[in-house]
């Protein structure tokens, strides 16, 4: 404990030996996030009460920002399943120091995606038809099943963490549940890995099977188009990077060491390795697409791009700037050792995946499918942005609460052990 540390009013709820800022600052921070949340709630109200016409979506862009956002957060939330897989199944022990964070981020990403999906479907009251009247041939059915099942897995993975809260854990029943869940956690990690692999893949498959849309359509293996595998690879390449970035961000905001640098570098190395695999396949896939599929559909490379908004720079940014470059950076041990370069590479890595999800969603639909059709353009409006920020704010609130009250970071006490003369003041008051 820092010598000048004054325990906040809610000290009884805060994990043992962890410093936290004053409750008032924390409340203020939550209040700020809640304002963003409420704007999102208002946008959601508009959409649910009046219809999706409130958005900028249209008959050409049935999918837009929301689907891009969903795909983005689901890919970036892949840190949860992949870290779980490595930690519990492949026994890479150091990852235990970020596994809790990865689970929380995964939980936020998946539940956030579900919130946005409820808005995105025109008839949310019928959402359960996805189970009851499932079409087993649809990639989306697989997505619906796997995402909801995996969401339950994430809840189960999150529960022991909640039950380990200082006060809750005193109840013997809850203590027992938390303990036993920890014991069977490898089972859930395995289930999570299985479900997650499939729905990440199916999300990619969703686009790859669109044989009427040459921008997205891909050949494949058995019933799975290549995008199926590319989505899995890109998710595991970016998920760990985001987990690591968020840990770093939380350290910046709280002014406390939460995860040791070697663990972060390990996460970077994992991301880099997967990114290498992904980038190789992505380049191969792009080549096959340009040289094989496109001409067989009667299209030239140039026809896939339009103006600035859907220009070739997007392809360059996705593959070279946000694929090859971060891959190189993350795979190089010396660059990883430099925190700035490590974070920059991770940011590029995540950006690349988001660009990938964006172009596959939006550019696919913007491209004229019939020769006498024209390029269409799409710019989301505030009603679409607000729920996305709602999810970010919700994630912020959940992470803040978890950080403050739950023993998320096993290394925290050790890393901030007792005397830290050089420690920065707790600037954000969290």
């Amino acid at each position: 404990m820092a010598p000048n540390y004054i325990p906040p009013a809610d000290a009884a709820l805060i994990p043992q030996d962890c410093e936290r800022g004053p409750l008032s600052c924390f409340a203020l921070w939550l209040g700020a996030l809640s304002v963003i949340l409420l704007i999102g709630v208002y946008a959601a109200y508009l959409v649910l009460s009046r219809g999706l016409g409130m958005t900028a979506l249209d008959d050409y862009f049935g999918f837009g920002l929301w689907i891009t956002f969903d795909l983005g957060v689901i890919a970036l939330g892949a840190g949860a399943f992949f870290t779980g897989l490595l930690r519990y199944i492949l026994n890479i022990d150091p990852l235990k120091n970020v596994i809790n964070l990865a689970v929380i981020i995964g939980f936020i990403c998946y539940t956030g995606a579900m919130i946005v999906l409820v808005l995105d479907i025109g008839q949310p009251l019928r959402a359960w038809f996805g189970y009851w009247h499932a079409n087993v041939h649809s990639m989306l059915t697989e997505v619906i099943f796997c995402i909801t099942c995996y969401c339950i897995v994430l809840i189960i993975e999150y529960i022991p963490l909640i039950l380990e809260q200082k006060q809750i854990n005193r109840v013997p029943l809850f203590h027992a549940i938390a303990h036993n869940l920890h014991v069977v956690m490898p089972l859930f990690a395995g289930m999570g890995a299985f479900l997650s692999t499939f729905h990440q893949g199916s999300l990619g498959g969703m686009y790859g099977v669109l044989f009427g849309r040459p921008y997205a359509f891909r050949d494949g293996f058995f019933i799975w188009p290549w995008t199926f595998f590319l989505f899995i690879l890109s998710a595991v390449a970016s998920g760990p990077a985001l987990t690591m970035l968020i840990a770093a961000l939380m350290e910046k905001m709280t002014g406390r060491k939460l995860v040791s640098q070697d663990v972060k570098m390990l996460m970077g190395k994992i991301a880099g390795t997967m990114l290498l695999v992904y980038t190789v396949f992505k380049i191969l896939d792009t080549g096959a697409w340009i040289c094989g599929l496109a001409p067989s559909a009667g299209l030239t490379f140039d026809q896939f791009f339009y103006g600035w908004i859907y220009g070739k720079w997007l392809l360059f940014a996705e593959i070279a700037l946000c694929g090859v470059l971060p891959c190189f950076m993350l795979c190089s041990a010396s660059m990883r050792a430099n925190p700035r370069l490590l974070y920059a590479a991770a940011v590029l890595d995540c950006t690349g995946v988001v660009i990938n999800r964006y172009v596959l969603t939006v550019q696919t639909l913007a491209m004229p499918s019939m020769p006498f059709d024209q390029w269409a353009t799409y710019v989301p409006n505030w009603v679409e942005w607000a729920p996305c920020f709602l999810v970010l704010a919700y994630g912020g609130i959940l992470l803040s609460l978890s950080y403050r009250y739950l023993p998320v970071f096993p290394q925290e006490v050790e890393l901030n052990g007792g005397q830290r003369p050089g420690s920065k003041p707790n600037t954000w008051g969290l």
């Binding site: 019928r126 099977v209 009427g212 009667g298 006498f372």
Partner: protein
């Protein structure tokens, strides 16, 4: 949902682009027939529910060599549907004798995946609840149900007319499917007994509707072995039920994507099938 289900009867169209003047009567008839709501401002074409859209085609040449043609585009009723295979809740399928791709509004959850899948832009979404000016709802037909916001809709080849035509045959004591002279099963509904609304109102007779499998139907005779007949995006392998006819080469070439040096007449390479 299995691939390319075969049916004895395959309703289809042959649209003669050399006859279509682009007047829009088919579009208006379609809306009145299928209970679409009018819109005060219909200038955002990507938000306007139209089951049938007439496109203006241009040969892209300068004045005075310029030529135009009009192309009405209903749902193409693909035998190899990009849309039905992706619907997560079986709200759309091609599973009935006649080969019309259905759209079930009370089943649709509004995910719009089918719209993303359809390369013909044949599907529209109800972005808002439909609104008719006061009293105009009295002119709705009982044949087609009205749709709330949040569901996808599309041309159904006026499927209700098919149902009514079948009932008329049954009410007269007849069987709906009978063996024809070619010893195959055909629909006993007479050729003019089931016609879509767009085909019915076209003063130029540009739209011919009937059973593509029935050699006695005009549409069959028009598209079989006609080098002037083509379908939209044929190389995708969607196997559509809507044929277009034009004697103009440039019009036919606009039916599909061709590389600059590619010949329209060359047998088309069909993209690999997914499902």
């Amino acid at each position: 949902m299995s691939a390319n289900k075969h049916f004895n009867v395959k309703w289809g169209m042959a649209i003669d682009l050399d006859k279509c003047t682009g007047c829009g009567a088919c579009m208006v008839a379609c809306q009145a027939e299928n209970n679409l709501a009018p819109l005060a401002d219909a200038s955002n074409k990507q938000r306007v529910p139209n089951w049938l859209v007439v496109y203006e085609l241009s040969n892209k040449k300068s004045f005075p060599d310029h030529e135009i043609a009009y192309l009405p585009r209903p749902c193409q009723q693909c035998a190899e549907q990009p849309c039905a295979t992706v619907c997560p809740v079986v709200a759309t399928e091609r599973n009935e004798e006649g080969g019309i791709v259905s759209q079930i509004y009370p089943r649709c959850i509004g995910c719009r995946y089918c719209m993303a899948a359809c390369p013909y832009h044949a599907r529209c979404f109800n972005w808002f609840d439909p609104v008719w000016p006061k009293g105009m709802e009295k002119a709705l037909t009982p044949d087609v149900s009205t749709r709330p916001r949040g569901v996808v809709e599309k041309c159904t080849f006026c499927h209700h007319r098919f149902m009514q035509a079948k009932d008329k045959v049954r009410a007269g004591g007849g069987e709906v499917y009978v063996r024809g002279t070619d010893n195959k099963l055909h629909c006993a509904v007479p050729e003019d007994g089931y016609v879509t609304s767009c085909a019915e109102v076209c003063p130029n007779g540009a739209i011919v509707f009937g059973d593509l499998n029935n050699p006695e139907h005009r549409v069959h005779r028009l598209v079989t072995g006609n080098a002037n007949a083509f379908r939209l995006l044929e190389r995708l392998g969607t196997d559509t039920a809507v044929y277009y006819i034009s004697r103009r080469e440039w019009v036919r070439r606009l039916g599909d994507n061709y590389l600059p040096d590619e010949d329209t007449q060359k047998p088309k390479q069909i993209l690999p099938k997914r499902h």
